[in-house]
Amino acid sequence: MASLLVSAQIYIVDIGKIAFDTDSDSLRDFILSIELGSRHVIAGSLANITNGGGTSVLAVNLQRWSSVLSRQYFFGKNTLNYALREISPYTSGIWIDWGTNGIGISSAYSSFTYKLSDRETEVDQTYFENITTILTVESSYHTQGGNTKVNVTVSLLNEDKPALANQILIYYRAAGNWRIAEAASNYEMTDYGNGTYTASFDADIPSPTIEVSGRVIDQRQILVQANVTSVQI
């Protein structure tokens, strides 16, 4: 008899545990969805800014995101606060450095504090999101019989991991003007499928100094650019 009652009690406790675990999973998923949304807002804003938008776009979009979230929870208080990174090299959460040393950086950074409180739950979650696209451009050339063959290697990283590009445009400078390499003769582009691309083309460049520029849009629509002086081999 006692064992029957005890086993019934254990069963009830176990059922309670399952329900509690599922609740925790739902809460984790809910917070994960907020972190994902924050990440997407930063990536989208950086895409906007690198394509000509003002740097205030990031703050405006994060404010909208915070506002949308606060309107979607009816069982308690739900707030998302953000703080754009102001530590150098970031200003208002943005760092864009499209250098002449062959490295280009487009980056956005913000930290967040998410608070949720209702009758059953208290959440105080702090996290940060950093979206960074880095472009590396290397170039070499050799002249043979009055013809200059230029080779360019482009590497793309998203958060320090190799990433694929949506669009790659290579330019070279001749007679003071930037020209698109695609229009040059014998232009060839090879995609290695791992974020590395090589381009080669023939160009009539009178100057002994050949400047090359890579302009890449990654799969998040973030634009990054880098210039480099081609090395003679």
Partner: protein, 139 residues
């Protein structure tokens, strides 16, 4: 004296039987709790499916492109067999965005639950969307 003891034993036996039957009756009613658990797990399955689709921005991209057929296919793949669903997409102002039904059945079945999911698109013009995913066990 012996007869009285015997009577008490009989009463004891009846009481024992009554306790055993009441325990059986109580345990027979307990499956109402697992139903709650099933509903919560269904909500969790739905949220996880949306999170999976949201990780690389696919979820918002399908909505921005208004590719409702692809959205249904994606949910068909992500949700287990036997789960019926109906998805409604709202914009920031809570106006319905989807012009077609995104569902695999007209009937949600028993123990239906509703999951609300807020997301942002990863596009240069960031869009904020609210999804309402209704789920039910088909059988």
């Amino acid at each position: 004296m012996f007869d009285q003891k015997g009577q008490i034993r009989i009463i004891e036996a009846f009481l024992s039987i009554a306790v055993v039957f009441s325990a059986i009756l109580v345990s027979a009613n307990l499956p109402s709790s697992p139903n709650l658990s099933r509903q919560q797990s269904l909500a969790s399955i739905g949220t996880q499916a949306l999170v999976e689709l949201d990780v690389d921005g696919t979820l918002a991209n399908l909505i921005v492109q208004q590719d409702w057929a692809a959205m249904k296919q994606a949910l068909d793949v992500m949700l287990p067999l036997g789960v019926s669903f109906n998805l409604t997409v709202f914009n920031e102002e809570m106006q319905q965005v989807n012009s077609q039904f995104i569902q695999n059945s007209n009937v949600l079945g028993r123990e239906a639950v509703s999951v609300q999911y807020v997301l942002a698109s990863q596009t240069p013009s960031v869009e904020f969307l609210v999804l309402r995913l209704q789920l039910g066990w088909a059988n």
